[in-house]
C-alpha cells in the first residue's frame, strides 16, 4: 500500500481519479463548479498567507500542514475549487508513478468514456446533491467520520488507477455495499471541501476588513499630522517652500490645509449624523423625530457648502483640484464636487413608492440639474478656450519695452478671465446645494432619510474603493 504521505508530494495523482460524479448530471456539475469558480476568482484577487492557489488550472495541492496528519479521505477535501473543474476534462488516468493495489476490496469505477461503463455505474452522487445533507450530517470537524476502511479505499484511489468493474455476481453484491460507502465518502469529502471553502471565504473577508480598518487608521493619523502641521505653521514655523516674504504661498497653503482639516472634521460629523439617522430609520422612529434628524443632516450639508465658498476665495485651484477628496472621488468629480444629476441616478429606485406628483418632480429635477450642469460645463469650456486665445496671442510689437507692456497686458486680461473661475465653482456648488434642497422638498421625511442614507453610502463606498485600490498588492 502506498503511503499517503509519499503520494502527497505528487500532486498530479489527484488530478482526476478521486472524484465521483454522475455522468448524467454533468450539467449540474458544471453549474455548481461555475459558482465555485466565481468564488475562486474573487478570492484570488486578495492573496493571503494561507492561500491555497485557487485557479481552475492548478493541480490539487495539499498544504504541508495537512499532510502527516490522519490520512483520511478528507485530505482530498483540500483539493481546490479548480480541481472540481478539472474533473470533467481530465479523466484519462495518468496513473502517475503509483501502482494499483489490486488487493483492494472495493473496486472503484467511474465513467471515463461511455464505453467503459457498466451497469453498476449509475449511482454515484453528484457533489451538489448531498451538499445539504453532508452539511447537516457533518459538523465542521469532518475528519472523524472516516473509518479506516475508507482510508484503505482512498489509497487505491490515489494511485490514479482505473479499475474496470467485473461483471460477476460477487462483484455486483460488493458494489451495492460499496456504493453506499462510496456515497458516504463522497459526502464526507464534499462537506470537508465546503467547510474549507467557507473557511477561506471567511479569512478573505476578515483580511479585507482588517485592510480597510488599517487604511482608515492611516487616514486618521494623516489627518492628525496635518493638524499638527497647521498648528506649527500658525506658530510661525514655515516648513514649506520659498522665501520668508512669500506670504502668498503660505496663505494659500494655509487655506488649502485648513480646508482639508475642516473637511475631515465635517466628514466625521456627517458620518455620525448619518449613523444616527440610520438607526432611527431601522428602529422605525416616528416621523417627527426623524424629521429633526433629516433636517440636521441637511443643515450639515449647508455647512460644507459654506466652508467651500470661503475656501474658494482663498484658493480656487485647490477647491477645483479636489485634493481633499480620495482619488476615486476626485476622478469622477465635476467642477469641484459631485454631479447633481448623478445624485439622482444614485437614488434610482430607492425612493419608491412615489406619488405621481413626486415622480414628476424628480424627473423635472433630473432634467433641470442636467441642463444646468451642461450649461456650466460649456461655460467652463468657453473660459478655457478664451484663456488659450489670450495666452497664445503673439506679441506683435518689435521693441523690447513694448513687448513687456504687451505681455503684462496679456497677463492682466488672463487674470480677469481666471477670476471667473471662482464664479463657476460657486455656481456649481449652488447647483449641488439646491438639488439637495429640492429633493428634500419633494420627498416625505422617511423618503428623504432613505435618500440621504443611500447617497451617503454611495460616497462612503467610493471612498473605501479608493483606499482598497491604493492598498492593492501589486505583482
Amino acid at each position: 500500500m502506498q503511503s499517503f504521505k509519499a503520494a502527497s508530494t505528487n500532486p498530479e495523482f489527484y488530478s482526476h481519479s478521486s472524484f465521483y460524479f454522475r455522468g448524467d448530471d454533468s450539467d449540474r456539475n458544471q453549474t455548481r463548479f461555475t459558482d465555485l469558480g466565481e468564488l475562486e476568482q474573487s478570492a484570488t484577487a486578495f492573496p493571503h498567507d494561507d492561500a491555497v492557489v485557487l485557479s481552475p488550472s492548478s493541480m490539487f495541492s495539499l498544504k504541508a500542514n495537512n499532510v502527516g496528519g490522519v490520512p483520511d479521505s478528507l485530505q482530498y477535501g483540500t483539493l481546490n475549487v479548480g480541481g472540481c473543474l478539472d474533473i470533467g476534462s481530465t479523466i484519462t488516468g495518468t496513473g502517475g508513478g503509483g501502482c494499483v493495489d489490486t488487493g483492494q476490496q472495493q473496486p472503484y469505477m467511474y465513467q471515463q468514456q461511455k464505453g467503459t461503463t457498466s451497469s453498476g455505474n449509475g449511482h454515484f452522487e453528484n457533489w451538489g446533491d448531498n451538499s445539504a445533507m453532508a452539511d447537516n450530517s457533518q459538523q465542521t470537524d469532518t475528519s472523524t467520520d472516516v473509518d479506516t476502511d475508507d482510508k484503505n479505499h482512498l489509497h487505491g484511489v490515489q494511485h490514479g488507477a482505473l479499475m474496470v468493474v467485473d461483471s460477476t455476481e460477487q462483484a455486483k453484491e460488493r458494489t451495492t455495499g460499496d456504493q453506499k460507502t462510496l456515497r458516504r465518502l463522497a459526502q464526507n469529502r464534499e462537506a470537508a471541501r465546503k467547510s474549507r471553502l467557507r473557511k477561506k471565504v471567511y479569512i478573505f473577508t476578515f483580511h479585507r476588513h482588517a485592510y480597510v480598518q488599517q487604511l482608515e487608521n492611516s487616514r486618521l493619523r494623516l489627518s492628525q499630522l496635518e493638524q499638527e502641521l497647521q498648528r506649527a505653521r500658525q506658530q510661525g514655523i514655515y516648513i514649506a517652500d520659498g522665501l520668508p516674504g512669500d506670504h502668498g504661498h503660505s496663505v494659500a497653503g494655509n487655506g488649502a490645509l485648513t480646508f482639508n482639516l475642516e473637511y475631515a472634521r465635517w466628514l466625521e460629523e456627517h458620518q455620525r449624523l448619518i449613523h444616527d439617522m440610520r438607526s432611527a430609520v431601522n428602529s422605525h422612529m416616528g416621523d417627527n423625530e426623524l424629521r429633526i434628524l433629516v433636517d440636521s443632516v441637511m443643515t450639515h450639508y449647508d455647512e460644507i457648502f459654506r466652508l467651500k465658498s470661503i475656501a474658494a476665495k482663498i484658493d480656487v485651484f485647490h477647491m477645483l483640484s479636489g485634493m481633499w477628496k480620495t482619488p476615486a472621488e476626485r476622478c469622477f468629480m465635476w467642477l469641484g464636487g459631485f454631479r447633481s444629476s448623478e445624485l439622482l441616478k444614485i437614488l434610482g429606485n430607492h425612493l419608491e413608492p412615489l406619488t405621481d406628483q413626486q415622480l414628476m418632480g424628480i424627473c423635472n429635477l433630473q432634467q433641470s440639474s442636467q441642463q444646468a450642469e451642461d450649461a456650466l460645463s460649456q461655460g467652463m469650456e468657453a473660459l478655457q478656450q478664451s484663456l488659450v486665445e489670450t495666452l497664445s496671442s503673439p506679441i506683435h510689437c518689435p521693441t523690447g519695452s513694448d513687448n513687456v507692456a504687451d505681455y503684462m497686458g496679456q497677463m492682466a486680461i488672463a487674470m480677469g478671465k481666471l477670476a471667473t473661475l471662482e464664479n463657476f465653482l460657486h455656481q456649481a456648488d449652488l447647483l449641488r446645494q439646491q438639488t439637495l434642497q429640492q429633493l428634500h422638498r419633494i420627498l416625505t421625511t422617511r423618503q428623504a432619510a432613505r435618500a440621504l442614507l443611500v447617497i451617503s453610502d454611495y460616497f462612503s463606498r467610493l471612498r473605501a474603493l479608493s483606499s482598497l485600490w491604493q492598498a492593492r498588492p501589486r505583482d
Binding site: 429635477l365 441642463q371 471667473t420 439646491q434 429640492q438
Partner: protein, 126 residues
C-alpha cells in the same frame, strides 16, 4: 432719475422726466420687447453659460451684447445698480420682468419655477 428696485421677482419701472436716452428706460424697453431677454457681454463666459442653458431648454432668447452697443457702458452701469452686484452681466428678463443673474436663474430652474415662467411668457410650449 429714479430707479425703483424692489424685489427681483418683479420690476416696476418708474417713468422719469428724462428722454428716451435714459439707460434704465432703454433696458426696460428692450426687456419688454421679447419673451426672454439676456443682457450679455460677448467675452463673458458666464453669459455664454446662461445662453447655453436657455438654448438647451429649447428657448430662443433675445441677446443684447453690451460691448457691441454704442451706449453699452451706460447700460452696464444701470444694470449693476439694478442688481446690486459687482458684475452687470449676465442679466435675464422674462416677460419683461427681471429674473436676475446666473444664480437666480439656476435656482429657479432647479426649484421648478423657471419653466412655468417661460411658458407664461410664451417662450416655451409643451
Amino acid at each position: 432719475m429714479h430707479y425703483q428696485t424692489e424685489s427681483w421677482g418683479s420690476y416696476m419701472p418708474t417713468r422719469t422726466t428724462m428722454g428716451m436716452g435714459d439707460p434704465m428706460e432703454r433696458i426696460e424697453r428692450m426687456a419688454s420687447e421679447s419673451a426672454v431677454v439676456i443682457f450679455s457681454i460677448s467675452s463673458c463666459c458666464m453669459c455664454h453659460a446662461i445662453k447655453r442653458l436657455f438654448c438647451g431648454m429649447g428657448v430662443n432668447p433675445t441677446v443684447y451684447e453690451l460691448d457691441e452697443d454704442p451706449r453699452g457702458k451706460d447700460l452696464e452701469k444701470a444694470l449693476t445698480r439694478l442688481l446690486g452686484t459687482s458684475s452687470a452681466v449676465p442679466v435675464v428678463f422674462i416677460g419683461g420682468k427681471l429674473v436676475g443673474a446666473m444664480d437666480r436663474v439656476m435656482a429657479s430652474h432647479i426649484n421648478g419655477t423657471l419653466v412655468p415662467l417661460l411658458k407664461e411668457a410664451g417662450a416655451l410650449w409643451l
